[in-house]
């Protein structure tokens, strides 16, 4: 086993300091070292999007980053959104529109949409579909996910 490197990462506003093997994936770091198992792993080669998290304000694939690369970074994961008893508006929209079935792709979807909503107007359904195209869902056929995002965009437009 190679020597460890000590890293400091802020995840959902909590600062963690851990010594990790340089080859440890960021996804494994979150899941195994920090027990933040909401971030899922579906392919480990950057295609499925299940592991999507937000690092320093941009969505990234946790399976394509090493934990050591996140040294000093600010990370947001699904655990940082709303809680079971107080879902955030995006999570609520997903529940109301039935935008999840098995829930495996859901954390990655939520993080992708969180990032999209911060950055883009998502004016049309095509924009939404384009924005989601890096996240695979095998259950929903995307229809309800698109509807959930569209409803949310409309709501946010409605509020000044």
């Amino acid at each position: 086993m190679s020597a460890g490197k000590t890293i400091r990462v802020t995840v959902n506003s909590v600062i963690y300091e851990r010594t990790v093997e340089p080859r440890l994936l960021l996804s494994d770091f979150l899941r195994q070292e920090l027990a933040l198992t909401g971030t899922h792993v579906g392919c480990e080669h950057g295609v499925c999007g299940a592991c999507t998290i937000i690092v320093n304000g941009d969505s990234v694939r946790a399976c394509l980053m090493l934990a050591v690369q996140a040294d000093g970074a600010t990370v947001e994961t699904v655990e940082g959104l709303g809680s079971i008893h107080k879902l955030n508006p995006l999570q609520k929209a997903f529940q109301e529109q039935h935008a999840l079935q098995c829930g495996f792709c859901t954390p990655g979807m939520l993080m992708t949409v969180t990032d999209l909503l911060r950055k883009y107007p998502l004016a049309t359904d095509e924009d939404i579909r384009e924005g989601l195209s890096g996240n695979l869902c095998r259950c929903t056929g995307y229809e309800h996910i698109v509807r959930a995002v569209r409803t949310l965009v409309r709501q946010t437009e409605g509020t000044p």
Partner: protein, 804 residues
């Protein structure tokens, strides 16, 4: 109409009088969602156990070879490696299991934890390394040396059936693992007499279910108690429990298989896997928790594949387009083993069983051969056989309509079994009960404005654009009961389900089932049923499922059966329990049980102030002695077992609208409409979601997905870059229309989890053919990729060029 046990007029009248149902049929938000939306769902790989070890597999890189030697010394020496296991090491720990069946002409291949003597497909597990971490286990795996003697590889099923073909299983004496034939009527004479005959050789390529969660297993063994618990990402914890009992020689009460949160299955998690056996065996052998989680490459190479058939089919019709006869010969490429418990017959036999579809086709012959090749075993995949049968029959109908010069919609309307003809036995022996065959097609055409689309098409054609509309209609058997079995004598009972509902001392209501939800939202739908039948609120009911210890005959979720069977069982159990509660409540309220009504957890006599609650009844029964006489203090628990005997018929019509880019040959789906009849809806939100997901998988099957093996049996689609699962940008907006013909099953429900995948490939194949009709192109192979399309168009153009 004959009365169905559990659904008699008296039963229904009683339910009506005693409860105020408000949940069945409502768009209720799922109770599963909050935990899944916040990352708090617990999938198998999310679990940790103290002292847990991790497995990595060394898999075969040969498609067919004899194993000469395994040298694992270097792997064993890696620090952190707890064990390196081969078939030889496990020989005394387990016996092989077999997917047995009473079918004639069937050979059940032995299923072992690790390959012994021979490997039969690339990706077959040969050695398991158990270590402190997955990283270490994988390091050690690479140090293992396996000596192989390569054998001739069998990849083409048509070559595999030749007398001189190398055999995968020498003991079978052939590569044909099953052979069956279905016949009805004078198909030969009718075909001969038919003035219009259309035929083709159809090819539906191999797919893989690709649930987003890879398979994962965690076994914990308690040596002191001799108890083993396997957490498995399976659809079928009950079936796995039974298989482990056989393989490990442990009685079922010492084994428990739990399927916690499962990230999709689609059939790929409905079978027993060698890795499941290895994890269980290693945990027992080493006395420590052992976990394995598949990576995506392992998933694409070693999770059961689906479909993969070649069908030679011919349809004979009269001048008006009425079908006179249908014949088909099917070869199913089933891969290297006969999968447990379904057998390798499941998939290809369903093709011949369902080819006659929802049509009045009395003269029919279907033959099928399931052929072993050096590829991953095929197993159930959403739709099982029916996406293929529908593809073939619906293509033939369109070809015939084209030939005769009638509209594809009209040829179907002409041939549908009519309402007065149900129950109707089709050429393969399946019996359809009443379902909206005609109404579904008409509703789908209306929703999509079919006539307007045809006008648009005329304009598009005039402008030289390729614009197509495709219809597919089908019927499927769902919620099957004890009298239906795909492979007679399979080691499982698909025909019944049991529910146990109990009220504890605190008034808590727990309903336990043998099924296992993996995205279908059964925790919500079953709570809706229990709540309505008991007279409580949805949130008062806790559903236990996905646990082999929940009921004596645990099963799982597959074959579009869970809602029909489990709801039926829940209804029966709830009725019995309600009677017990009412008996006690009647004493407490000094009223007649006949006058009571249960609603939202309250029990009352209407128009009086007499009222109590389920909670208070529980207290009176269990805790507060003296409030009730002994005979009214029955334990508040009831079980119900339901068998729908024949099952229910679900039907649908799909319409695909698309255009083809003349420059890139990319197919752009504009819209997809489904009109379906799954009987009474329990939760329309969930039903819509199931249809959407199924259609998306059907679109994948039609346009993108294909497992490819080369001539050496090497798999070329072992990543999600090569095996293309459609993303949101490839899926069109969808619309679902519901017909609700109540079924003869309890509650009037029909199963519907697979239907989307059954209709979509055929509808798309028809739409692409329709778009390219000016070139005379008929799609007979799926997926129709841009490359295939390019070749077809090239060939058609050179044909027309020759003619000119």
């Amino acid at each position: 109409m004959t009365e169905v046990p559990g659904q008699t007029a008296a039963d229904l009248a009683l339910d009506d009088r005693q409860t105020r149902p408000k949940n069945i049929g409502a768009r209720i938000k799922r109770t599963e969602d909050p935990r899944l939306l916040t990352g708090r769902g617990t999938y198998v790989d999310d679990r940790q156990a103290r002292g847990m070890l991790h497995v990595a597999f060394r898999r075969s890189d040969h498609a067919h070879a004899r194993i000469l030697s395994i040298d694992a010394a270097a792997a064993r020496a890696v620090p952190g490696v707890a064990a390196v296991l081969t078939a030889g090491d496990l020989a005394d720990d387990a016996v092989p299991v077999h997917a047995v069946s009473r079918m004639a002409n069937y050979y059940a291949t032995p299923i072992r934890a690790l390959a012994s003597d021979k490997v039969r497909f690339v990706g077959e597990p040969v050695v398991a390394v158990v270590a402190e971490s997955r990283y270490v286990a994988e390091d050690a795996c690479e140090l293992i040396e396996i000596g192989y003697d390569p054998l001739p590889v069998v990849v083409d099923p048509e070559a595999a059936v030749r007398a001189d073909a190398p055999l995968l299983h020498e003991e079978a004496g052939t590569n044909i693992l099953v052979q069956r034939e279905f016949k009805r009527g004078d198909f030969e004479a009718e075909m001969f007499a038919a003035p219009v005959r259309v035929k083709g050789r159809f090819r539906f390529h191999r797919k893989t279910p690709t649930a987003m969660e890879n398979r994962s297993y965690l076994a914990e063994y308690d040596g002191g108690r001799d108890e083993l618990v396997l957490h498995s990402s399976t659809q079928v914890p009950g079936i796995i429990r039974n298989a482990l009992s056989e393989a490990l020689g442990m009685p079922g009460h010492r084994l428990r298989v739990i399927a916690p949160e499962v990230g999709g299955g689609f059939g790929g998690k409905a079978s027993l896997y060698p890795e499941e056996l290895v994890v269980a065996l290693a945990a027992r052998k080493l006395g420590r928790p052992v976990k394995w989680t598949s990576d995506r490459m392992e998933d694409l190479t070693a999770t059961s594949h689906g479909f993969d058939e070649t069908i030679d089919a011919e349809m004979g019709l009269d001048h008006e387009g009425r079908v006179m006869a249908l014949t088909a010969d099917v070869i199913g490429d089933v891969g290297a083993y006969s999968i447990y418990p379904w057998t390798c017959a499941l998939e290809p036999v369903q093709v011949v069983s369902f080819l006659p579809g929802p049509y009045r086709i009395q003269n029919y012959r279907g033959t099928v051969r399931a052929v072993a090749t050096c590829k991953a075993p095929t197993g159930p995949y959403r739709g099982v056989g029916r996406p293929i049968s529908t593809f073939v029959t619906e293509r033939l109908l369109d070809m015939a309509a084209h030939r005769i010069g009638i509209d594809p919609r009209d040829i179907r309307l002409k041939n549908f079994i009519q309402d007065h003809e149900f129950p109707y036995r089709i050429g393969s022996g399946i019996v359809w009960d009443r379902s909206s065959f005609t109404d579904c097609l008409e509703a789908a055409c209306k929703a999509v404005d079919y006539d307007a689309l045809r006008r648009r098409q005329a304009e598009a054609r005039a402008a030289g654009r390729w614009f197509g509309v495709g219809i597919a209609s089908y019927a499927e058997l769902t919620g099957i009961g004890s009298r239906i079995s795909v492979a007679p004598g399979m080691p499982l009972n698909t025909g019944t389900e049991t529910a146990r509902i109990r009220i504890d001392t605190t008034g808590g209501i727990t309903a336990a089932f043998g099924i296992a939800s993996h995205g279908q939202g059964l925790e919500t739908t079953l709570a809706q049923v229990v709540a309505d039948k008991l007279g409580v609120r949805v949130e008062d009911v806790r559903i236990i499922q996905g646990d082999s210890a929940a009921v004596p005959n645990p099963t799982g979720t597959y074959a579009s059966r869970s809602t029909v069977l489990a709801s039926g069982a829940a209804t029966l159990a709830a009725r019995t329990l309600r009677a017990k509660v009412f008996k006690a409540a009647a004493h407490l309220l000094d009223a007649s049980a006949d006058d009571l009504v249960a609603e939202d957890g309250r029990i009352y006599v209407p128009h009086t102030n007499k009222s109590t609650t389920f909670k208070d009844v529980a207290r009176a029964v269990y805790l507060e002695m003296g409030r009730l006489p002994g005979e009214a203090r029955e334990e508040l628990e009831a079980a119900g077992t339901y068998d729908p005997v024949l099952g229910t018929t679900t039907s649908a019509s799909h319409v695909a609208v698309l255009d083809i880019d003349p420059a890139t040959y990319a197919i752009r789906l504009e819209k997809f409409v489904v009109a379906e009849d799954c009987g009474r809806l329990i939760n329309p939100l969930i039903v819509d979601g199931q249809v959407h997901g199924g259609v998306a998988q059907g679109i994948g099957a039609a346009l993108y997905e294909e497992v490819v093996y080369d001539d050496d049996g090497q798999i070329l689609t072992a990543s999600l870059v090569d095996y293309v699962v459609p993303a949101a940008s490839e899926i069109p907006p969808m619309q679902v229309v519901h017909m609700q013909t109540t079924s003869p099953a309890i509650g009037g429900f029909r199963g519907m989890g697979e239907g989307g995948t059954i209709g979509a490939p055929a509808a798309i194949a028809n739409a692409v053919s329709d778009a390219l009709a000016p070139l005379g192109i008929e799609i007979d192979e799926l997926p129709v990729t841009p490359e295939r399309l390019f070749r077809l168009i090239q060939a058609a153009r050179s044909r027309t060029g020759d003619q000119e």
